[in-house]
Symmetry: C2
Subunit: 338 residues, 2 copies
Amino acid sequence: STEKLDNEWKLVQEDFPKLEKIHDEYIQKSRQVSKFQDTAGKAMKHHNYLLKNFRETMKQTQMAIDKLAPCEEKTALIAHLKKLREEQEVTNLRLRDMQGELPAQSNGFYLNLILGSNLNISLLTKTEKFKYKEEYEGFKWNITILICVLAFISWMWPFRVLDSLLCFLMVWYYCTLTIRESVLRVNGSKIKGWWLSHHYLSCAVPGIVLTWKDGLCYQEFRPYFLVFTFYISIVQLAQNQYQSGCLRRLHSLGQGHQMDITVEGFTSWQFKGLTFLLPFLTVGYLFQLFLAGKLYMYVNTEMCDGLWQVWALSLLLGAIAGGNIVTTSMVCIRKLKT
Amino acid sequence: STEKLDNEWKLVQEDFPKLEKIHDEYIQKSRQVSKFQDTAGKAMKHHNYLLKNFRETMKQTQMAIDKLAPCEEKTALIAHLKKLREEQEVTNLRLRDMQGELPAQSNGFYLNLILGSNLNISLLTKTEKFKYKEEYEGFKWNITILICVLAFISWMWPFRVLDSLLCFLMVWYYCTLTIRESVLRVNGSKIKGWWLSHHYLSCAVPGIVLTWKDGLCYQEFRPYFLVFTFYISIVQLAQNQYQSGCLRRLHSLGQGHQMDITVEGFTSWQFKGLTFLLPFLTVGYLFQLFLAGKLYMYVNTEMCDGLWQVWALSLLLGAIAGGNIVTTSMVCIRKLKT
Ligand SMILES: CC(C)(COP(=O)(O)OP(=O)(O)OC[C@H]1O[C@@H](n2cnc3c(N)ncnc32)[C@H](O)[C@@H]1OP(=O)(O)O)[C@@H](O)C(=O)NCCC(=O)NCCS
Ligand SMILES: CC(C)(COP(=O)(O)OP(=O)(O)OC[C@H]1O[C@@H](n2cnc3c(N)ncnc32)[C@H](O)[C@@H]1OP(=O)(O)O)[C@@H](O)C(=O)NCCC(=O)NCCS
């Protein structure tokens, strides 16, 4: 009566050596690949060293040439240097791609702290990188909608618990953003340092609001804060649309898909998107400055006596607005130039 | 005068094809390894399917045998089943090792939410797993000391800002723990589900304290909370020592190092550690229950009117204490049995 059981055990037993063989082959290949990876990493380091030397000499030569009086030789030298630079640009693109296929050297301080230092979080192919970024944009979209809804609910039903819930969600959201953005950065995203810092600071804002003792002062500030949160979230949804659009288009450009997308088409689309966004962003930044100013007025009034949150928030919002304005202007100026 | 520059550019140019060759070889090997990994994963799935069938039949056969009247055949069958089970146990160990060398199927809901779903966070070798866990224990140690110090400072200088700082640190610490522990779990750690839930709940406790409006009620609760935090941190330091000890010893056992460590030596050490820890843990759990009760008494007093934090914390602390007591008892009973 144990025939069926014996048969099934035989099947398992027969399968096991096969499994072991396949598995051992896989392990062997992985070990090999680690070695190849190390070798490739070392070769890359060596090449970067050579490049660094070359660039330094280039700088020195440039300076030496600049000092020459204008003459025929000078023009020839300048032309020569230009040629070298162009040649180097060509290999540079390929070099950056190759670098992206090697695991990152280090995860950076923040990710080491949160995730531990020996977790390998490299995304080694373009498709993986694209998928990760796409998911990041999707995550932003979903949570921002949730924040909008919660801000609206808090507005309709003015209970402090709901405010706290909203603030907790925002702290959590911005924390998670910083983690995901650090992962993106390790994998070669060119997201500006300021936006990362912006999200650290944006964590602190709702965090501080959480600790604000309920009372007249808080009640005065509350409606502004809710409207501000709501407005910023809406702007972020628009910005999110723009950035997912950029991402998808860039990806199909890179993949050479025949999606009727050309480089010119992309730049003109990006330009349109930016000009649409900019007014809303500007209003947002002015709103931030207004809030910072409003809070600054509260400081030292009787109503807000002894509340460190008031000046802390005022400072934070001012800093955020300043950084945003500077960074966005710089990005826009750079885009207009090219 | 551009001789040096030209020479260096030549070096770079000559190096580039070499680099490309090495890199292409590496990419080719990685692609291969992905294929082998897929094959190994599929083979593993198939084997697990066979095993599942076998186990089910085993259960059915066992039930059929149990129904038989005692006779010679029954004894023979029982012995046969026992033999099969033992044989299976032997391959099972190796199977689990092999499974640990394959990337995890999914990161789970929480890590998908925080890190994104297509980040590969598998640690594929035992050394990597060990290092990761070691760093995790080190992280716990450092931050717990920081929490101790901050709790002490808050006690000495009773400012609400310091309390908030401490609470923020604790929220951040427990959040980070949940992330790291989820990574550990994906990589095969057998940490009980309760300890993970415990850390989610432990996030909520300081989070709620943050939102607690300053006043008589809070001031009444504050010293208990600080002493409790301080005490729990000290206990956690001891527990951390015990767990790093376990980890190091288990690792040297697994590695077959001749560190005078035997299985018996390990179990007796573990036993000693546990009996040292248990009284402190028990006091900690009683403290938690005491705090929960104390807060429960505050509910509906005039002093704490309208503060939802009071009953929320009471509930939370009660739940945490209950879960801790049940889980720790179960772990200890299991350890005593074997
Ligand atoms: C001005 C802006 C539209 C330009 O976007 P852009 O055209 O993508 O800018 P860049 O070309 O410099 O982007 C470089 C990289 O940074 C990323 N990036 C730019 N701004 C970002 C932001 N605010 N958050 C996250 N990532 C950002 C891009 O996705 C891109 O990533 P990639 O290298 O992986 O492709 C954008 O920076 C922006 O919306 N800023 C305003 C954000 C803000 O102020 N929020 C607060 C609300 S008031
Ligand atoms: C009771 C106790 C000492 C047993 O520890 P143990 O002997 O390692 O228990 P187990 O054998 O069940 O451990 C299984 C795994 O879970 C891990 N683990 C056990 N308790 C853990 C905890 N509290 N936190 C994190 N990980 C834990 C172990 O490190 C081990 O990991 P591994 O599979 O990667 O090797 C431990 O669970 C403990 O200290 N619990 C009390 C924690 C507590 O109550 N804290 C609040 C303060 S009052």
